[in-house]
């Protein structure tokens, strides 16, 4: 079958992923761009007997070398030479969106414009003359409404037609003198280098040389024509000024504002719904309360709805494990299948529902246009804390589950800010830690149980702030201020069910694929450690965990934890807490030989903890090593073992210090 490669590009918030989903039927292959943490989505569809292979490029405003996203997008167009580039233009925001389009035309890409949000433009009172726009730009323009799948067939037709038209249009954008003269002079110098001229569009390369684009300068500095080029650039500087990148940006915008927009766009701009809603959502006094209310609703939604699904999945796998292993006569193999394989799968899958529903709710907030508003409202506070306005959402999500929280840091553009947010995120006390607090607090803290539990959340926030400040000042990589907020606030819109469902599904699947394998391996390892040596642990049908390798390890490590007042049982519980923090409860129950419901009273009578060491244990549980699911997410999102290991080490050290501090000061104050 004939195959056509189509790249989708556009500014953020133009409905690009909706168009992608419409074209591909929502079936995407999600991966990463080679060597980058930036996500790459590909899909395909067949139209009139031709296979369209669709590549979703990162959303960008421009095609400079200043950000990874922009470089990825532009390198794909320059190097992979897709047959057609579909630029998705927001019809309700024509002026700014045309800026990217002009750069695509500079690149001599075979452009088809999807003029999306056609309905929103209409409702704002805009009349856009599509034929005139198409004539001025020299490319086909198709009005679309992605949310209603309007214009999709026409878009596909236009793609096929453009793919057939092989010759590319050149020199469409004229910058006027003195720009065009200088650009063609530079281009004619570059033309002499056969290697460059066979690879790059000459006029585009000349423009980038003029802009002193880092990547392009690296390439041309190796060229034999470089000396001649330098002389020409010196000359150009005298005419155009020092910063020609800014000068050209100005030029592009004035072309758009003076010669394109007035000819194609008419209609007044009334006070829009967005301005009205912003009055409330961005209000000085109401902004934060509204935000807190919405966040609470999101949380209740995600965790209340997902809890039964998670429980069902765990139960299903436990039962399945029992069922399968009942047919196996060898007890070791049976245990491996039931507890190792099926138990592990159950653990992995039980994370899926909260991630799915949290991202579903988050996608709804995002698609409605609210999420950037929340970052706007919280920016001042977060900057004071050494974080970024956009760190706020991930931090809050952390109270539910750190896994989606770490994944949600993607909206933070600068890598330093993003990694810092990821590193302190596990200090937000996730819902899995609550059962542990409840168990210990009710066992040994009596009337102070509720207050102690509550204090853990406050402690987590305080530690996160402290650590963010510390890392900013101590680690050279994070030095300096968080990058200032620059963020577009899109128009509010009603989110579509389909898009949000696809988004949530993609996130959940990504988690299963990437973090899931790590979780499964660790579950199997811990199964081994707690079941072997086999004969010693399984005596006359009794499960004697005291004899297992893990108990031996616990005893070996006990001396190190003695200053904190933890015995080997506590150490073993913490070890299993690494699988999933709530596993601490189950481990205590197993070791004390009681059910989980009776664990609290058994723990109290066994005298494992005093009130003081119990409190220290709670603080340790809060702070120490993120659970492995979170670690899996940290590894996936930072793409670095270095940061993943750093997260483990610093949190372990911090937990130890915090618990030691509690025990020491507690004793000084006369607590036991």
């Amino acid at each position: 079958m004939e195959k056509v490669v189509v790249a989708l590009i556009g500014n953020p918030n133009v409905g690009k992923s909706q168009i992608f989903n419409n074209l591909t039927g929502g079936r995407a292959h999600v991966g990463n761009w080679p060597g980058k943490t930036v996500e790459k989505k590909e899909g395909k569809c067949v139209h009139k007997g031709v296979e369209l292979h669709i590549v979703d490029l990162p959303g960008t405003y421009s095609l400079t070398a200043h950000s990874i996203d922009e470089l990825i997008a532009r390198n794909f167009i320059v190097e992979e030479k897709p047959d057609v580039v579909v630029d998705i233009v927001d019809a309700s925001n024509l002026e700014r969106n045309l800026y990217l389009l002009l750069q695509l035309l500079e690149l001599e890409a075979n452009v088809v414009v999807a003029l999306n949000k056609w309905d929103a433009a209409k409702s704002l009172g805009y009349e856009i003359n599509v034929d005139e726009l198409s004539r001025l730009l020299g490319v086909p323009v198709i009005p679309t409404v992605a949310t209603e799948k309007m214009g999709m067939e026409e878009l596909k037709d236009a793609i096929l037609e453009a793919a057939k038209r092989k010759e590319r249009r050149k020199n469409i954008v004229k910058y006027g003198e003195p720009f065009d003269g200088i650009i063609s002079e530079i281009a004619s110098i570059l033309q002499k280098d056969g290697e460059l001229s066979s690879k790059y569009p000459m006029r585009w390369l000349a423009i980038k040389v003029l802009e002193a684009d880092e990547e392009v300068m690296k390439t041309v500095s190796k060229s034999p024509v470089y000396d001649e080029l330098k002389l020409k650039l010196e000359e150009a500087k005298k005419v155009l000024g020092e910063d020609m990148e800014i000068a050209l940006a100005e030029r592009r915008y004035s072309i758009i504002a003076e010669t394109i927009v007035p000819r194609v766009l008419t209609g007044a701009r009334p006070l829009t719904l967005t301005d009205l809603l912003d009055k409330a959502f961005l209000s000085k006094h109401l902004g934060i309360p509204i935000f807190l209310a919405l966040w609470w609703a999101l949380f209740r939604f995600a965790f209340d709805v997902s809890a039964p699904f998670s429980d069902m999945l765990s139960m299903l796998f436990t039962e399945l494990g029992k069922f399968v292993s009942s047919g196996i006569s060898d007890p070791q193999l049976a245990s491996f299948i039931a507890d190792g394989i099926f138990g592990g799968l159950g653990t992995v899958l039980s994370f899926f529902p909260p991630i799915f529903f949290l991202f579903l709710g988050l996608a709804m907030l995002e698609d409605s246009g609210y999420l950037p508003r929340a970052a706007f409202v919280m920016d001042r506070l977060m900057v004071k804390l050494g974080l970024h306005g956009r760190s706020f959402i991930p931090m809050l999500l952390g109270f539910g589950c750190n896994v989606p929280a770490v994944m949600a840091t993607r909206t933070i553009e600068k890598e330093e800010d993003r990694i810092l947010t990821i590193l302190v995120n596990p200090l937000m006390s996730c819902s899995a830690r609550l059962p542990v607090y409840l168990l210990i607090a009710s066992a040994v803290l009596g009337p102070w149980a509720a207050a102690a539990t509550y204090s853990m959340y406050i402690l987590g926030i305080a530690l996160a702030i402290l650590m963010a400040k510390l890392f900013r000042t101590v680690i050279p990589y994070f030095k300096g201020k968080p990058s200032p907020l620059i963020m577009e606030l899109p128009l509010y819109a009603v989110p579509t069910v389909r898009t949000t469902l696809i988004h949530a599904w993609e996130r959940g699947r990504l988690f299963l694929r990437k973090a899931g394998t790590i979780i499964l391996l660790v579950v199997i390892l811990s199964w081994f450690l707690s079941n072997y040596p086999w004969e010693a642990v399984h005596q006359n049908g009794e499960f004697v965990i005291e004899n297992s390798y893990i108990a031996q390890l616990g005893r070996l490590l006990e001396p190190y934890f003695r200053p904190l007042g933890f015995n080997w049982m506590a150490v073993v519980a913490l070890f299993f807490g690494f699988l999933a923090k709530e596993a601490v409860v189950g481990t205590f129950a197993t070791m004390l030989g009681v059910s989980e419901e009776e664990a609290s009273s058994a723990l109290a009578s066994a005298g494992v903890f005093t009130p003081l060491t119990g409190f220290a244990f709670m603080a340790f549980t809060l702070t120490y090593t993120p659970c492995m699911a979170t670690l899996g997410a940290i590894y996936r999102e930072t793409n670095s073992w270095k940061w993943t290991i750093f997260a483990v080490v610093y949190e372990l050290a911090l937990a130890y210090l915090v618990a030691l501090g509690i025990v020491t000061f507690g004793r000084l104050l006369g607590f036991t």
Partner: protein, 80 residues
């Protein structure tokens, strides 16, 4: 010549024309891409100090950190 003021000093709902974006932080390019170039008309939608500023520029709403916005010098439009 008329007065030039940093963008965040304008009252809410006032309009102005960008005169100059001062360098530093290497962010003037990003601002230019978003449409903050000399001659661009802007309208301050929200400016509750010391928080970020929300500006309407070239048809889109852009939130800017206050410190960053201080680097955008504007000339208040007539009749405001």
């Amino acid at each position: 010549m008329r007065v030039r003021v940093p963008l965040p000093l304008l009252p809410e709902n006032s309009e102005a024309v960008v005169v100059e974006v001062r360098g530093g932080w290497g962010l003037e390019r990003r601002l230019a891409e978003l449409g903050f170039t000399a001659g661009a008309r802007v309208r301050v939608l929200r400016s509750t100090g010391p928080g970020p500023v929300l500006v309407l520029v070239r048809g889109s709403r852009v939130a800017l950190g206050r410190g960053l916005a201080m680097r955008i010098l504007v000339e208040p439009a007539e009749g405001v």
